[in-house]
Symmetry: C2
Subunit: 263 residues, 2 copies
């Protein structure tokens, strides 16, 4: 399972301030810490970037790349900012992401061809609504692949995010279980080992005690891993969750078991 | 998920000594602690009981029942000791257990009818060997149900133990994943929600650092739970594992989510 650090995001006040002042140091400090903590990929999420999007995304990509050799994933709904960021990437990045929402199909998806890179596709309705069960999600996955087909993009470029919803939603527990079914069934449905990604903190979004939130995420992660999840987007500084992710590998990876690999 | 405490077992020197001297106090002390820790069922495992089996199993059942109202599961390969223990039980116990091994089919399985109680069936070959993959295990499950059918026992009495093997076995990781498949597929295979049980400590049997063993068990348990496991046999004093089991319920149980239920 690859770990994508979600730490460089606009909701982090340090990042918001640094981006406002175009100050590279706080961003670089965080990027270095994410790499040291064991991230495989760093997500850069400056939000919708309504002003100076291209300049800001370019700044963030160049700033992070200056101190960190990791692959990046770029997370904005602003297509021109996304394009500028992709252009600035040295390593092939991941586009995070698109859905059946018309604006994203038209403006974001084509960037996967233009920049020859992987793209995350969310299992959401065109109006942004979350599907209510596994069957509806699998239907949406088929539609994402149809969109790929129409644009002649290799299906292997698609990484599916089945959209985890908070446990606190009325049907949150059921949805959490349906998500596992979706992750398990997708490869059979599409006929190849399509990759999947989940934003782990979504499980416990909303009000609640932080320790219990983290604990639930630690318990849900092995469920995701055993269902076949390939990538997890998470706060890389949650040390226990990271240890759980590594222990999952010890169990799931079909190699020779060694205590050295267990955190 | 029901928690079966595996603490009252002959490999525990306190229990071995108490059983040797027929001293009820250490057994009762442990039984009370198991109940207080949150066990749903207490497993009584005095080993094969080659001498004075009936007397010893009766002693253990009566001793535990004297201080503890929990349901018991009786774990010995000695059929007359098993029968004596079952006879002494006030609540309907669980017989733990039988397999396709001829001696067990002939001597242990009929006790489920005689005492009208649930019985754990191990997915093992008649010679006691462990099957190598999910398909072989599912085949054995079908054979267990056939044995039930021959003896006219209700299939709902069977609780299947798919037999977890140590990760350190050459194919241990693969087997751990195959086990999840077995647990997930069994209800469809047999056409009703057949219950399943796993002895969690088997995952890490053998040499290894205790902390890492417990951590792996904590990470594997949510995988089992999300596959549909109904009962887990475990050391009830592993507080973290117990918390994980409860957190699994918060995620899996299809009720209204509440932070109060999260440990």
């Amino acid at each position: 399972m690859q770990i994508i650090a979600d730490n460089i995001q606009i909701t982090n006040p340090v990042i918001a301030r640094a981006l406002g002042k175009m100050d590279p140091l706080p961003v670089q400090d965080l990027a270095k810490k994410c790499e040291a903590a064991g991230a495989d990929i760093i997500d850069i999420n400056p939000g919708p970037l309504t002003r100076d999007g291209e300049e800001k995304m370019t700044f963030l990509v160049e700033t992070v790349q200056h101190v960190c050799g990791l692959r990046l994933s770029l997370d904005t709904s602003n297509p021109s900012a996304m394009a500028a960021g992709l252009k600035a990437c040295r390593e092939k990045p991941v586009i995070n992401g698109f859905s059946l929402e018309p604006a994203k199909l038209e403006k974001i998806l084509p960037l996967a061809t233009e920049f020859d890179c992987d793209i995350i596709g969310f299992l959401l309705y065109p109006n942004g609504m979350v599907p209510g069960n596994a069957e509806k999600r699998l239907n949406l996955a088929v539609q994402l692949f149809e969109a790929f087909n129409e644009k002649c993009i290799e299906p292997q470029r698609l990484i599916i995010d089945p959209v985890l919803v908070p446990l606190m939603w009325e049907d949150g527990s059921r949805q959490a279980m349906e998500l596992l079914t979706v992750i398990r069934m997708l490869p059979d449905l599409v006929g190849f080992p399509v990759r999947t990604i989940v934003g782990l903190s979504n499980l416990t979004s909303g009000k609640g005690p932080k320790e219990k939130k983290l604990f639930l995420e630690e318990v849900y992660l092995p469920m995701l891993a055993s269902a076949g999840l390939d990538m997890v987007l998470m706060n890389i500084f949650n040390q226990n969750t990271l240890s759980v992710a590594k222990a999952c590998e010890s169990i799931i990876r079909q190699g020779i078991f060694s205590w050295e690999d267990v955190p």
